[in-house]
């Protein structure tokens, strides 16, 4: 059979992701997306034009060799494709699931100009799952030991991707994690139905097999300060502690029982497995047949509202102060939430939570908004409509409007430079901080962003750390 022409390739439709049926999945915590079959993967790979200059790679914060791995998929060499991805990405099964590809690699895909772009994320997910399930995650080449030691503070996406690169470059790496499990937001934040925890564990184990050491229950700042890490023999430190201080809205009634930060609600359910209470000991608000509203429009808000739905909520609302167009959540998450019966209430802002004598939430006073002139984010600013207040019954509310920066590092490491929001100031090309030997990246630098941007920062830092360790010049 002669190779397909460009035109023929473009005529193949984008292959759909097999999914659990919406009604069934809105009642369980199993993964929503089921993953490509080998046939679907090969068919999708044929859609790639194998551009001489693959612009898709420019859209990838970690620079995965997208064209090359897709070619291997097309040839049926799935293990080769997996190895190709891992040259640049320490967590491919995670990224294949949670990256906003539609804004990154797939947004640049040439096929996407006239047709739907190649489903790069689905292919990445397929090959990494294929490898893990068929032969187990294989370890790439690791350079001879350099004798240098790096401490990584935080085991989320930034920390893990940095660890993956540095261990392959021959450095000793220890990752310190404050919680009792490794993975940061991948474990406590993103729900099982979107990112199964055994997949995170498998990718973490792969790093462990490469020689990365992990220390849980280590709150750097308290357990050891940054200076003490240097004193104990580390030659460089990468701070990747994430944002980790939830914002509330500063409206009356926010401390009623039943009002949660998204972090707390999701941590109870994901990390502590409260959805299996009382089999697991940690409880969470009993959502069964209750009215639940999540305030916010990002991925975390979608995760929280879909979790509430799965816990049995009668009505699960997203309440967002702008319109659907301005929502920062991934399209797939919004689409899935709608399919699962989540109700979206746009252009609505809470003014006050209402509660009873015993301190329990029972409602919220809402205000209608309209869109005005664009603000600094480029999105149209929501403006209150006078006399548009109303009251809605509510048993549980989740505030998912983002995170400030966690104060522990700042309080215990005053000799770093911070901006007024508490983010660590770095040189964005090297992730160097104002303190010799200390690098920082991820949400603690950028403010709340995505998994893959944090991983990109981790890679950038790894490169600069390697150069610092090899040249011994700052």
């Amino acid at each position: 059979m002669p190779p397909l022409t460009k035109k023929e390739r473009m005529q193949i439709p984008r292959q759909p992701m097999p999914e659990q049926e919406p009604l069934a999945r809105s009642r369980n915590f199993l993964e929503v997306n089921l993953g490509f079959t080998e046939e679907l993967a090969k068919m999708e790979a044929l859609r790639c034009l194998q551009c001489p200059k693959p612009v898709c790679v420019d859209g990838c914060p970690v620079g995965v060799k997208i064209r090359d791995f897709i070619q291997l998929v097309g040839e049926g060499d799935f293990l080769g494709a997996a190895a190709k991805i891992k040259e640049d990405n320490a967590l491919p099964a995670v990224c294949g699931r949670v990256c906003p590809q539609e804004e990154q690699c797939e947004a640049k895909c040439v096929v996407g100009v006239k047709h739907d772009p190649v489903a790069i994320g689905r292919l990445e997910r397929f090959v990494s799952d294929y490898e893990r399930e068929k032969v187990g995650i294989r370890t790439p080449y690791v350079k001879p030991k350099t004798g240098k030691k790096v401490a990584i503070v935080g085991s989320g996406p930034a920390g893990l991707s940095c660890a993956g690169d540095l261990i392959q470059l021959g450095h000793d790496v220890t990752v310190f994690e404050a919680l009792h499990e490794i993975g940061g937001v991948l474990i406590y934040g993103i729900p099982e139905f979107r990112l199964p925890k055994n997949i995170v564990k498998a990718e973490v184990d792969a790093l462990r097999n490469l020689g990365v050491e992990f220390q849980t229950n280590a709150v750097i700042g308290f357990t050891d300060t940054i200076d003490e890490l240097f004193e104990s023999g580390y030659h460089a430190v990468f701070i990747a502690v994430g944002a980790g201080l939830p914002y509330f809205m500063s409206i009356p009634g926010e401390n009623f029982n039943g009002v949660y930060s998204a972090n707390e609600f999701l941590t109870r359910v994901n990390l502590m497995k409260a959805y299996k209470f009382p089999e697991y000991d940690t409880p969470v608000f009993d959502c069964k047949n209750k009215n639940v509203a999540v305030f916010g429009g990002g991925n975390t808000a979608m995760d929280a509202v879909r979790t509430a739905k799965r816990l049995g909520a009668k009505n699960a609302y997203i309440m967002y102060r702008r319109s659907e167009k301005e929502m920062p959540a991934r399209l797939e998450e919004i689409h899935h939430a709608k399919q699962e019966g989540v109700e979206f209430v746009f252009l609505t802002n809470p003014l006050e939570f209402l509660g009873d004598e015993a301190g329990w939430l029972h409602g919220v006073k809402l205000q209608k908004m309209e869109l005005g002139e664009p603000d600094t984010s480029g999105r149209r600013r929501p403006v209150p409509i006078p006399n548009s207040e109303s009251i809605t019954d509510l048993d549980m509310a989740v505030v998912a409007i983002g995170n400030g920066s966690n104060p522990i590092i700042q309080k215990t490491t005053p000799d770093l430079s911070y901006n007024k929001r508490g983010n660590i100031i770095v040189n964005e090309e090297t992730m160097k901080t104002s303190k010799t030997g200390v690098f920082a990246g991820g949400d603690i630098v950028s403010g709340g962003a995505t998994v893959i941007l944090a991983m990109g920062a981790g890679r950038t830092a790894a490169k600069a750390i390697d150069s610092f360790l090899t040249t011994e010049t700052w």
């Binding site: 029982n257 707390e264 000991d281 301190g359 966690n406």
Partner: protein, 287 residues
Amino acid sequence: MNKIISAEFLAADIKRFVIEAPKIAAKRKAGQFVIVRIDERGERIPLTIADSNKEQGTITIIVQGIGKTTRAINNLVAEDFFLDVVGPLGKPSHIENFGTAISIGGGVGTAIAFPTAVALKEAGNHTIVINGARNKDLVILEEELKNVADELYITTDDGSYGYYGFVTQKLQELIDSGRKIDFVLAIGPIPMMRAVANTTKPYGIRTVVSLNPVMVDGTGMCGGCRATVDNKTVFVCVDGPEFDAHLVDFDLLTKRNRTYNQSEKAALNNHLCKLDKAFLETVTTES
């Protein structure tokens, strides 16, 4: 994993554990806490560090068995392990030479107030300790406190030991005696801390309480431990746990601590039923 070196009941349901935790032992200061977990399914439980021994690399915690998890903890014995111990968390107590300082502990709060009493004494304060319990059997740490305090008063609610009455009555007597009191620390059940705050407020005596809200991570990440102090929301785990008693909204703290009462009851009943069942099975097999 952290090994339990010794474990002993101080009173019914109140158990003292000495645990291997060299890093925490070296670092911790009075007023700080740890979070422990006993097994894969366990809750994260915040507990104030009652004492430590740098040389031996151990810390001491004192646990009152109330819910399912704290009762399960109190079933642990020497040589058993905690799965996770993380800390030291929270801000250390603010200690200085205030002059005359009173440390008040109610129930298991006595254990929590103990390290701060020690630190107050070491800072040069004339240190008075008031140790309150419901009855004689629940009086704990009397010997240890004797060694620390310049004056020690034990109070019992039923008069079965020491002073007959509440800690606040003893406190009021000390205030009424006209002595100059510069600082009061109160740790114990919320009603007790509130009562102490109300007692000292009219006299403008600087008073600090250590709050015990529901917590998950203990590092500021979840905001579950929020309380209102001086009409502002604080995260007790990173902003506290100690706050100016005269500014704390105790009413809110009480209500928020009831959030999981239903679930906790259910979990405990479920746990006890299983124990009963296991017990019955043993009995049946043995016979």
